[in-house]
Point group: C2
Chain length 296, copies 2
């Protein structure tokens, strides 16, 4: 399988849909919509929508029904990056290879662009744009995403991350909570959303949830390693910032070699969870490898 | 009609429901959930949910179906207050009579509490808690609220307000845009959400939308007057802050007497829009008066 070509093709599908779905480029208020477009189209990997499309496809043989939900996931991911980068939060000035939103548009406009993207994600989920999803399924997807993004999911993870920064010692359960919630919750949810859109059985959803859990953690460990040793150009954001802020990470706790092995083991375990899908699992297998091989 | 007793009774219905629906008081992360509860239960007027209940009742004779959507409106209203009060935005330190969220919990936790409340509003809207609303109606309500709260609604209004602050002259259309979007959009939406929950006909929805538009603007004009001449205790937030920040307001533009008259005319026009409802319109009529009589 040509992973590079596959990712490229899927990224373009998502980018096209985002151009259609992201609110009013050029609309009033221009500055706000400029800020929204700036962050959404700064060239992300689109990992979450790509996962949603692949999970939908593995379940029902086609990815079309996961495009709008995938774009909603990307809007929420982008809002979380904008807010996390704020001076009051992680205070980063580089993201996706360009200056962060608040550096270009100011803090107020960055907060509002994030708020608008989060709100708009639910707007597109509530509309029957593609006509492909039954109302009940669409409500299920809204519930899934709101749960994963909320105070017991992604926002909860970021809150504990912020609270822990000031503390000397962070125990292993707290570190795991941060990872499984701050990043993991939305990656797991991306896989689940695709599965739900594709009409997964309870058994299929369980298997794909396991897959999502495992690559979610593998992704975070890999990100931590990249932060420690990657170059900024490849990563598109400041490196070494975790260390500078004394963030608790896997490599800090276990060292780089053991962290790297942990990520590999998780990726393999993720693929194992897909056994029941047999022939169709090729793309999700390739994505699992991509998630941990970014570091090589 | 005993307006005071009526408002008190409805407020208690909403407060009870919010206690059930607002995420995990005492749940992990405690600090985040504490910040969420702090702002939600700081004692708001619950005007938006009360409007939703009344609009539902005027349409179908009962208010029950509007309780969950009304609570979602209040969560979104509360998130918008938390974010608007941030130092990077309007920089207020008093709200609903107590210190603002960021003063108590810090900027990061305030941003996250707002993000969580916005997200959770859509979570409760997606669930069939009360079992009373068909899926199609629930999706319609999500769409209505997301549209009113997003970049072409409330967030758009706040963006233009922030952008205009630095400018010397703000023209009348810009001032009207800010008012009809920053505050007006969600008040109008509250009425519409109640009507949709109650199963309004297109004609009923049109009439109630007109009512909502008019009291929305009347509410904002009254707020501006109160900011200029009210006392902080009655208003529960800093007064004179519009003037200090050279915000463009109706009283600044037209003077207090003419602004006051404008608000009264709008309230009367709002009630006129309810003609078709005859006997049932008593509570919405009383609420319209309440909106402008706060100043007396």
């Amino acid at each position: 399988m040509d992973l590079k070509g596959y990712l490229q093709e899927r990224r373009e599908i998502i980018d096209q849909a985002l151009k259609r779905l992201v609110p009013g480029q050029g609309d009033y208020p221009e500055r706000l919509h400029e800020a929204i477009g700036y962050s959404v189209f700064a060239g992300g990997k689109r990992l979450r929508p790509i996962l949603a499309l692949a999970a939908c496809e593995i379940v029902c043989g086609e990815w079309g029904k996961a495009v709008v939900p995938g774009c909603a996931l990307e809007m929420i991911h982008t809002y979380s990056l904008i807010h996390d980068d704020l001076p009051d939060m992680d205070d980063d000035d580089l993201r996706r290879g360009v200056a962060t939103s608040h550096k270009v548009f100011g803090e107020a406009m960055a907060i509002l662009a994030g708020d608008a993207l989060l709100t708009h994600a639910f707007d597109v989920l509530s509309r029957d744009e593609d006509g492909g999803l039954p109302d009940r399924v669409r409500l299920g997807i809204i519930q899934e995403i709101a749960g994963a993004a909320g105070s017991r999911g992604m926002v909860g993870g970021q809150a504990v991350d912020i609270i822990s920064e000031g503390e000397k010692e962070v125990d292993q359960p707290t570190l795991e909570y941060i990872h499984t919630h701050k990043t993991g919750a939305m990656i797991r949810s991306a896989v689940r959303v695709g599965a739900i859109a594709g009409g997964a059985t309870a058994d299929q959803l369980r298997a794909l949830t396991r897959y999502g859990d495992r690559i979610g953690l593998a992704f975070q460990i890999t990100d931590d390693i990249l932060d420690l040793m990657g170059d900024e150009k490849a990563l598109g954001k400041n490196v070494g910032s975790d260390l500078a802020r004394k963030k608790k990470t896997y490599p800090a706790l276990l060292g780089i070699p053991e962290s790297r092995e942990r990520a590999q083991v998780l990726a393999s375990a993720a693929v194992e969870a897909l056994n029941q899908f047999e022939a169709r699992r090729e793309s999700l297998r390739a994505i699992a490898n991509f998630v941990v091989e970014r570091m090589n």
